[in-house]
């Protein structure tokens, strides 16, 4: 019953919630980012990071340091924390934690299939996969020629199997189909996750459904903008939108017929939460849209920590950590390429 979670949540989830809140206190603050932005070389970055929670992970790296190494070690820290929490969790928290990684699994699957299409080596692709989304038979993906084989050989044993029912065709995989497959899978995953959170009920449902609705709407806008000017028909585009969220169903009708960014903007400005995002961009500009969306997402994720006794803090922490890793990657790249003036273009401060 909503409002009385405090009575029974701590039986199974109290310890892990306290742990995830402890991890949250280790996220980098604005002063850390200021220090990092003033670094001249990657060695300086490593020195600053060794004073934060990332210290043990970066200490033993030999110089010269690459940005990919920094990002890899930081991701390793996230994976270690996640695995620690997953092993200690009971139902339904363990299923909830597993749901968080399905998005990465989808990305990994698409990465390997696309890479194979472009004749890259499988080992090289496996190294680029996100560690949270790995599963056992992932290397076999390189063998599949079309979606039906993809499903039958590999994916039927993974948690992604139920998401495939809508996108199995016998066509051979090419770039367009793969993108459509990615978006269809992600749509099915988001809807499944949404239903799962609703079933848990209480504060988890309220907080998670809000965050997931924003995610669905953000993906709808990105799909629209990315498919302007391609051969994706309006009906196909509409099929890729999720069936929940603030934009469902009337916003989706308007977005499906948009042909340029200004039409997208006028469709979105009818919704107050998104109107504030679009008002930050001037007309005709879309590069800052990603950053505006990230900022809005970070704001909502930080709000999830305001309430106790729900599972939304786990999801929020994972997403905030990923945002931090994106920030670190951007800062490292700017420093490595000597473009420090552009550092603040894409860093989203969490606190």
């Amino acid at each position: 019953m909503y409002g009385f979670e405090a009575l029974t949540f701590n039986i199974h989830g109290g310890y892990l919630e306290a742990i995830v809140r402890g991890h949250r206190s280790g996220l980098l603050t604005a002063s850390d980012y200021n220090n990092l932005c003033q670094c001249e070389t990657l060695e300086d970055i490593k020195m600053h990071l060794s004073a934060t929670e990332y210290g043990p992970y970066l200490q033993n790296e030999p110089s010269p340091l690459h940005t990919t190494t920094i990002v890899e070690k930081c991701t390793l820290k996230l994976v270690d924390e996640y695995k620690h929490m997953l092993t200690q969790a009971t139902e339904p928290l363990s299923t909830f934690l597993e749901y968080i990684t399905y998005g990465h699994m989808i990305d990994n699957v698409v990465l390997i299939v696309t890479g194979t299409l472009h004749e890259r080596d499988v080992q090289e692709l496996l190294e680029k996969c996100h560690p949270l989304g790995m599963f056992d038979s992932i290397a076999t993906l390189a063998v599949a020629q079309n979606m039906r084989e993809l499903y039958r050989l590999v994916l039927v044993d993974t948690p992604l199997a139920p998401y495939f029912s809508e996108c199995i065709t016998s066509e051979d995989l090419d770039d367009m189909n793969i993108e459509i497959m990615r978006n269809t899978l992600y749509k099915a995953y988001l809807e499944d996750f949404y239903r799962f959170c609703q079933k848990i009920g209480g504060a988890t449902a309220e907080i998670m459904c809000d965050i997931l609705a924003f995610e669905a709407d953000r993906r709808a806008v990105n799909i629209t903008i990315n498919s302007i000017g391609t051969e994706l028909t309006r009906d196909e585009r509409r099929k890729l939108y999720s069936n929940f969220g603030l934009l469902y169903p009337y916003g989706h009708e308007e977005l499906a017929v948009c042909e340029d960014i200004d039409q997208v903007r006028s469709a979105m400005e009818k919704y107050p939460p998104y109107q504030s995002i679009f008002s930050k961009l001037s007309y005709g500009e879309s590069q800052m849209l990603d950053k505006a969306f990230y900022e809005e997402e970070v704001k909502r994720l930080c709000l999830a920590f305001e309430q106790q006794f729900h599972y939304g803090v786990f999801f929020a922490y994972m997403r905030l950590k990923e945002q931090e890793i994106r920030n670190l990657m951007w800062v490292s790249e700017c420093v490595a390429q000597n473009q420090k003036s552009r550092v603040h273009d894409s860093v989203v401060f969490i606190f």
Binding site: A6, L7, N10, I11, G14, Y15, L16, E17, A18, I19, R21, G22, H23, S25, G26, Q308
Partner: protein, 176 residues
């Protein structure tokens, strides 16, 4: 034959007042301990998890556990007081109104104390859990949240006071 509409009230009145008194004593300690245990586990699980990243909070936040424990002690004290009020009456006078009154008074006292301590223990436990988590992030918050806990633990005291007043007037009829 007595009308059937009075059969329930007759049945209730014919239950021995000793039954009511003993159940009251059982509830007084049983439900109080339930409240205290519930509060302690709510606080304890958050405290253990938060102390991993912030070990300094452990000693201070044991106060929350102590407040929950106090709730159980109130239950024990009142149960001991109540059991001294149980006296024997001669079997001819066991269903006198005086006897029934004494039995009901002890029963009510037990329920008052038991349930007041149940909710007090829950309240202190939940606040204690939030206190541990906030203290781990920002140590200036501890004292402020402790004030809330103190108000919460006063609820158990209210129950004990009223319970003891109730039981003070539980006088069984004297012999003869």
């Amino acid at each position: 034959m007595v009308g059937s509409s009075s059969s329930w009230s007759t049945a209730l009145v014919k239950i021995s007042p000793y039954t009511f008194a003993s159940i009251g004593i059982a509830i007084s300690i049983g439900v109080s301990v339930l409240g205290a245990a519930w509060g302690i586990y709510i606080t304890g699980s958050s405290l253990i998890g938060a102390a991993i990243k912030a070990p300094r909070i452990t000693s201070k936040n044991l106060i929350s556990v102590i407040f929950c424990e106090a709730v159980a002690i109130y239950g024990v004290i009142v149960a001991i007081i109540l059991q001294t009020k149980l006296e024997s009456v001669p079997s001819s006078r066991i269903y006198d109104p005086e006897s029934l009154r004494a039995g009901y008074a002890i029963f009510a006292s037990g329920i008052i104390v038991g349930f007041a301590n149940l909710v007090c223990g829950l309240c202190v436990g939940i606040i204690g859990s939030s206190c541990a988590l906030s203290d781990a992030q920002n140590s200036s918050l501890f004292v402020k949240i402790l004030v809330i806990e103190i108000f919460g633990s006063a609820l158990g005291l209210f129950g004990v006071i009223v319970g003891i007043i109730m039981s003070a007037q539980a006088t069984w009829p004297s012999k003869g």
